[in-house]
Symmetry: C2
Subunit: 378 residues, 2 copies
């Protein structure tokens, strides 16, 4: 059903369709090209014509069509931000900060979500959104959080500058990776706990992603560094891959477990997995003095399972999270957590991308120093 088609003839202020460059040209009595020049900071355009064009555009309410611009010899001022996940407040902060920095530099940004909850459990890459992103031919790309099927972006990352924020780049061919210094963050937590005389510490996490694994590895070195590593810990020390947690459990027999003072209890980044891990600890009578987790959500799961068994937090067992999301600040939760400096991560990611676009700078991995926010849970 056609809109107001034949609207030809006069067509002054508000036709059916948004005004095109052609309308503006006609209105101003100049050529298309001239209008284009004016809108692209054209140097040598007479002041008189420029004003004529600007006024005409204004009168018509003209705004250049991004899609057409993108098609016609790919625009160079559009940056796409591909966000893994709409749930996590963490990412919203990063995106906001990145976008602000990009805007300062005159880049337009489009934020596209990467994941879709296809109903069937685990979230999956949103290929439609990815297709649009790709076809828009942005001049740069920032991914925020772990993107499902990141490998499918390979053709993009090969061609346009890409910076990964708050995730660990597995492929290795991106321009830069900006993320929290997990090593330092976890060390902050372990130090805090150690200072309180805690002896037996477990890390719940390590599975379900590279970030999770990185934090588990950080935990291993932190406890080793402080000499609070037990038998189990040393057994797995040389191994820092994803499945070392499993090995740890496989290797350690019951006696060793009792003697161990620090270990990794396998769980992915979900609340449920964390609860399950803790119930396992409880069932096997291995509840430690403190539990360090890979993120805040996991910490919630830990607290839930603990309290459900009558184990008080922090009195009987301390708990710490990571990310310092809005959750942790809720008084009823009051979770001690590591603040990764999200806004800073966002700004640095934007800056890194800007540099890459400008002169091809490749920053590699940038670790942002985190800080510890101490609350009631530890």
């Amino acid at each position: 059903m056609a809109e107001y088609d034949e609207s030809g003839a006069a067509a002054p202020v508000a036709p059916g369709r948004p005004p095109t460059i052609r309308d503006v040209a006609r209105e101003a009595g100049v050529s298309k090209s001239l209008v284009s020049l004016v809108f692209n900071g054209g140097e040598n355009v007479s002041e008189e014509r420029r004003l004529r064009v600007l006024h005409a555009a204004d009168r018509l309410g003209y705004r250049p069509n991004l899609v057409a611009q993108s098609l016609s010899s790919g625009r160079r001022d559009l940056v796409a931000i591909f966000v893994s996940n709409l749930h996590n407040p963490l990412f919203a902060e990063i995106v906001g900060a990145a976008k602000a920095r990009l805007a300062e530099a005159g880049q337009r940004t489009i934020i596209v979500s990467a994941q879709v909850d296809d109903g069937s459990g685990s979230p999956v890459l949103d290929r439609d959104n990815l297709a649009v992103l790709r076809d828009l031919r942005p001049s740069g790309l920032i991914t925020v959080g772990t993107i499902p099927e990141f490998a499918e972006l390979a053709d993009l990352t090969a061609v346009i500058p890409t910076v990964v924020a708050s995730a660990i780049d597995a492929t290795g061919d991106v321009t830069a990776t900006i993320r929290s210094d997990d090593e330092a963050g976890i060390d902050l937590v372990v130090a805090h706990l150690a200072a309180q005389g805690v002896r037996r510490i477990a890390f719940v996490g390590g599975e379900g992603g590279t970030v999770s694994a990185s934090r588990a590895a950080a935990f291993r070195s932190a406890v080793a560094r402080r000499g609070i590593a037990g038998a189990v810990q040393s057994a797995v020390a040389p191994c820092s891959t994803d499945d070392s947690a499993e090995s740890a459990m496989a290797i350690a027999d019951a006696d060793e477990r009792a003697a161990a003072r620090a270990w990794v209890e396998a769980a992915d980044f979900t609340e449920e997995a964390a609860s399950r891990a803790v119930r396992r600890l409880i069932a096997e009578d291995r509840v430690p003095d403190a539990i360090v987790t890979g993120n805040d959500l996991t910490a919630i799961g830990v607290i839930t399972a603990l309290e459900e068994a009558g184990i008080r937090v922090p009195e009987d067992c301390r708990v710490a999270g990571y990310d310092d999301t809005s959750l942790s600040a809720i008084p009823r939760i009051s979770l001690t957590s590591v603040d990764p400096g999200n806004r800073r991560i966002g700004r640095e990611a934007a800056a890194a991308l800007l540099a890459a676009i400008a002169d091809g700078t490749r920053l590699g991995e940038v670790l942002i120093p985190p800080s510890l926010v101490v609350r009631d849970s530890a």
Copy 2:
């Protein structure tokens, strides 16, 4: 000029640029149009050619360029979902469900975020994203949650079918609005509270948006209906606008307040505002037996302020939320809340849009019946 450019003779599998329809045509030894036909479910294409084209496309890794498609006489299978806010898990559920339904109908969807956190406090409309959305010329639009400056979408809503999910359309010119039946939801809460013998009930909210106002109004009628409305309530009964809460407080003098059994305590949809409202209640010694809120976040703010003053929840004061977000299920919070049926809202929104696209059906306002999830807080 030009169909088969002499561009580089061979050029088989992976040139620099993504393959275009032209490449496929050459590879298959047919014309561009034929390729286009094949990719658009062309009826009358000989099986032989169709296969040739498909194989060629496959060999080259060809995928039609959305942007070009959109430009060339606006595609009719792209629906845009414009989400107000990346923070709220509520919206993620709605988006996921809507997208799934749309996919079933063969529509591609692009999810675009509507708000940016411009650093300076309150979130603002993301005009860049809106521009992209607009220029993509989607065949339909679903907005999720309250969009900042919704009026700026007027040119879009005038031309393409638009359905508003989980928000209240102020402009009135959208195809359909799908949202929770606030009247029923709040009534569920009030009934539950009344059944427990609660006499003095306050609603914290009413400001900061149409949804907030709608729920406050629902509260007023629910208490009136159950005859638990006090002097203040009847004083404001005829008035159901945003500022009636203010009037209530202005009208009621101290004596009346003491006698009142139900009233609205003004606050917007934020945690802080809710806390402030409760502190006001405490300071003026007007703490009720139960507090109903406009959403879960507000409820958290209420609980925080209450407990900070030593008032126990639910023993001294019951609290109920709205939206049944993941927050409320956290055991430490355990918030009684109204489940608006988010997935259902998403699906119905998608269905309404599909119908509108197909035959112009305009559903108007659709209210989804909510249910009450009783937890510890009430």
